[in-house]
Amino acid sequence: MLCEICGKKEATVHLTEVINEQMRKLNLCEDCAREKGAEMEEHFGLSDLLAGLADLGATVKPEAAVTIKCPKCGFSYSDFKKIGRLGCSECYEVFKKQLTPILKRIHSADRHVGKVPIQVGKTVKGVKDLQDLRLQMEKAIQSEEFEEAARIRDKMKELEKKNPESRDKK
């Protein structure tokens, strides 16, 4: 049997391909199979697996979530489910509810702690400090250390006074 792609060499590799629920057998030579294999591998990446997580921890019913669209770029949550990528940076805010559990699953964390771009550095730093303090305060309350919580609250107030732009809109 000759290879179905090049039609020149002997077919030694037998692949089964499923496209649109149609199963198809392919008989290929080694070279064409290697190319085909590389193609398939590239087409199935991490983002495909990610799309499988898209319904994770959906507090909103999945059917309701898929219709949400980003007002900025028009990308919908169902697009994300299909390709595992977002449309623009605004999408993170628009799909926040759906993305939060996914990000937690991927990174085992729910916030960035690394580099801050210098351009926005000044105000962002303030916001991040405030967020960190709020987290600390919540922890203190949980462990019933109310004096500590009050101390942190005062510190936050002070920071907000110093840098009104950094007011953290929760």
Binding site: E41, E42, F75, R85
Partner: protein, 348 residues
């Protein structure tokens, strides 16, 4: 300088120098960055894609590491040229596809490259020879800071640098190290070592081929998580784990020499014999044999072969390199002949 000049120059990372370069082939970091206010490349329209290209091109000059760099539009390159750049590790296979608005910036030493309009607007990469991951981070951090004075990157205080795929959000950082682990493979320890590595949140890929079947005994290990840790933590963690693997490979090499010296030397010299005399050779066989030769060089078996030359052969025997060297398109069979010729010539 043009693309063809790369053909006759050795990239910085191929020099086979740097710490632990007997085991660590190369260290690489990449940062994913996107311009604020523009859709991700896959969702942007033609005008927006052009804007992204222009903005990045305009910001290049502000980065001292990019002095004298080349800017290639993918649409201006032939298919062979594109694969050639992939083979030199300067861009991803993904970047060769539908390239109307894709571009690549490369510095003349091939240390820094930036893919424009790949999955993210910018994918910055720094590549070095040997176990130098901290140094690659230092350089890329500097480049990123310089660029951010000209370009406004999409960033959220909560989630960090925003990327097209949520797997890269946060730092946008991926560090990866390419390791040559023949002794761990020969002594059948590799499964265990790689299994443990995966449990620590690192990603492992065979460099040629898949999983532990990797031919050439080359493995690429990288961090999986990009958010919730600082860049220094990510790099430090990667470095510590790799350091353990390197030590393990080192001690396995010593064990092999003390217990199986004849068998090992036999394997290395046979590989040399085949490469030196073959007239037809596939890339798969080449990579497997070069791995044995590289080990031989590391163990001092060969007097007149050096690591640089062997490492270079891993790259120059790949399909696009062979075709650029010949100056024409070759069939697979013609490449196997050309490859054998090239190797014999180098080993003469």
């Amino acid at each position: 300088m043009t693309l063809d000049d790369f053909l006759h120059q050795e990239s910085e990372w191929l020099k086979g120098t740097g710490p632990r370069s007997n085991i660590v082939m190369s260290s690489r970091t990449r940062l994913a960055r996107n311009l604020e206010g523009l859709p991700y490349s896959h969702w942007a329209d033609k005008k927006q894609l052009e804007t992204i290209l222009d903005s990045v091109r305009g910001a290049m000059d502000s980065v001292s590491f990019l002095k004298g760099s080349m800017f290639f539009r993918m649409k201006d390159l032939s298919d062979i040229d594109k694969v050639f750049l992939v083979e030199r590790h300067l861009m991803s296979p993904e970047h060769t596809r539908s390239g109307e608005y894709k571009a690549l910036i490369v510095d003349p030493k091939e240390i820094v490259s930036i893919m424009v309009n790949e999955e993210d607007h910018l994918r910055i990469q720094v590549l070095q020879s040997g176990f130098n991951i901290k140094e690659t981070w230092r350089i890329i951090d500097e480049i990123d800071t310089a660029l951010s004075k000209k370009l406004s990157f999409a960033y959220s205080p909560k989630w960090g640098y925003l990327t097209a795929c949520p797997t890269n959000v946060g730092t946008g950082l991926r560090g990866s190290i390419m390791l040559h682990l023949p002794a761990l493979v020969f002594t059948a320890q590799i499964e265990r070592v790689l299994g443990a590595t995966a449990k620590l949140g690192l990603n492992i890929r065979g460099f040629y081929g898949e999983g532990t079947e990797a031919s050439g005994n080359l493995f690429q290990i990288s961090n999986q998580v990009s958010m919730g840790r600082t860049e220094d933590d990510i790099i430090d963690n990667l470095e510590r784990i790799i350091d353990q693997i390197v030590s393990r490979e080192d001690s396995s090499r010593n064990t092999l020499i003390s217990k199986n010296k004849e068998a090992l030397t036999d394997r290395i010299w046979r590989a040399y014999g085949t490469l030196k005399s073959a007239h037809i050779i596939t890339s798969r066989e080449t990579v497997a044999l070069l791995s044995a030769i590289r080990l031989g060089v590391d163990l001092g078996v060969f007097k007149d072969l050096n690591r640089e030359m062997v490492t270079e052969l891993f790259i120059s025997t790949q399909p696009a390199h062979l075709q650029k060297l010949s100056g024409k398109i070759l069939t697979a069979e013609e490449r196997d002949v050309k490859r054998a010729d090239l190797i014999r010539e180098k080993l003469k």
